[in-house]
């Protein structure tokens, strides 16, 4: 057990190697994005726009949830970057399965953001609008189950993606940019699917990406059928995890890295 905890600890402290400024810039950017999104919701609410199934407070909670859980709702393991840097080879020399090692590193890398960004942002917004607290108490049980499934699915999708990057060889930055852009948009982490025009949202909800961010956030707000959303998340986990393990194992023999 100690080796797992130590891996998480090492990964968590690694974030501070470059000093506080190194990571603060990223958090400030995310805070600014959240504020802008809240101001947009406010503008739309003021102009009397039809916000679909949401009230202004619910949109605020949706955006807040997406911001504070951003790393959990869109899991990015070090698999891709370590392949690009050539450092993935060292993971094969350690006394732990590679996927386990990468997963623990990822969990460790979440801790600084949770402490420096997520908890302070969450607390500040709740202090300014105490009514919002009720959303986090009513459907917390279902939300936690859904969040766990979302994280699990996120790992599977990331390992499938890493396997594709191994096939792309030197174009991994390209593949990474496309992946980040698509998942942000297709997972519903920025704009809730219900606010999309036409029927786009309904299609996106049943895709695996919809189970990453949209499902847990909808369950948190008690919107949609929790049982149906969780069942869909379980389905995608059952389909994509075997695929992830298979494709990653197959890709191992194709690894060629020049180092970054």
């Amino acid at each position: 057990m100690n080796k797992y905890i130590n891996t998480i600890k090492l990964s968590a402290t690694k974030a501070f190697d470059g000093g506080l400024i190194y990571i603060l810039g990223q958090y400030l950017l995310e805070l600014a994005k959240l504020i802008f999104l809240i101001l947009i919701w406010e503008s739309l609410a003021k102009q009397g726009a039809d916000l679909g199934i949401f009230s202004f407070n619910e949109l605020l909670i949706y955006s807040l949830g997406a911001a504070i859980l951003a790393e959990q709702l869109n899991v990015v393991t070090p698999a891709t970057t370590s392949f690009w840097e050539g450092s993935i080879i060292s993971r094969y020399l350690r006394p732990m399965p590679v996927l386990m090692h990468l997963s623990l590193e990822t969990i460790g890398s979440w801790l600084p953001r949770i402490v420096i960004f997520s908890i302070p942002t969450f607390t500040t917004i709740l202090i300014t609008n105490i009514e919002l607290l009720s959303y986090f108490t009513e459907s917390i049980g279902h939300s936690l189950i859904s969040l766990t499934l979302s994280i699990s699915l996120g790992f599977a999708i990331d390992y499938i993606f890493a396997s594709l990057v191994i096939r792309f060889k030197n174009a991994n930055y390209t593949a990474y940019s496309i992946r980040m852009a698509l998942i942000t948009f297709l997972s519903g982490s920025v704009i809730p699917f219900d606010l999309f025009p036409y029927q786009i949202g309904k299609i996106l909800q049943i895709l695996p990406f919809g189970s990453l961010a949209s499902a847990p956030l909808l369950i948190l707000l008690d919107k949609g059928d929790a049982f149906e959303l969780i069942a869909l998340q379980m389905f995608w986990n059952l389909v994509l995890w075997p695929l992830a393990i298979y494709t990653f194992a197959k890709s191992k023999e194709r690894m060629v890295s020049y180092g970054g």
Binding site: D17, G18, G19, L20, I21, Y22, G25, Q26, L28, L29, A32, K33, F36, L39, I40, E42, S43, L44, K46, Q47, A49, D50, F168, N170, A171, Y173, T174, A175, S177, I178, M180, A181, L182, T184, F185, V190, I191, L195, F196, P197, I200
Partner: protein
Amino acid sequence: MVGNLKRMIKLWGIYAKLDLVWILRNISLFIANVIADVVSSLATVTGVFLLAQRFGEIGGMTKHQIIFMLGYASLIEGIRIMFFSMNNISHISRIIGRGQLDHRLIQPNSLWIQLMTEGFIPFSGSSMLFCGIGIIIYSTTKLNILISLAFLSQIIIFSLLSTFLILSISYLVSCIAFYAPVAGEEVSTSAVGLFRSLKGFPLSGMSFTNQIILTTVLPIGLTAWYPTNIILGEELSLPNYLLIVITIIFATIAAFMFKKGLNYYGKKGSIRYTDRGHRR
């Protein structure tokens, strides 16, 4: 002055040739890069586009005005990518923080000429620029705007000013890297990222105080929302000269701080490399 301009044109030509050679060497990698640039840049404006499509207007701006604004935002991103993205020129803190400014100080060209020319990739970096132009043309036809010389001049002048404003802020915050190279190495990424992600948001529905803050202290609004409204002839409660004044102010402060940082760098050098040449 004329000599410098000739030198710059020559250097732009050299970098254009290098870019073309890179494309011809590996066409599939080039296509993949173009797709990545377009997808990741368009993703930053897609959210607002979909909201505009759904609601018809946001904060008083109509759907097509918002599309025009997103076109302008893409154009600015396109100019930055085409002229300043190669070799981290728009992400100058990486160069400073990694101790790579030395490479430029020994070149037979002044530093500012190198910074103005070295990032030029007219072939591999043109996709976003064309996307922006395409979106602007589409929205102007929908808005029934007669494209005149004055209209085009306004777009060109404003887009150059907006680009230089983003670069000024990137260079200003990057000065941290002169004093704290490891910690400050990526600050320009956050600065450029801030504008990249947020410039497509319309400020029209926001309070006047928020508009003032977002067009002066943190001038995100000057990189798409404000110029768009001026170009489209919309009335704003803000002065028409705001973009040029704020750009000059930020550019002056950035130049002053950069020079100060450069002097410090000249005395202390960089600690990023060991005697054996490995990066710390």
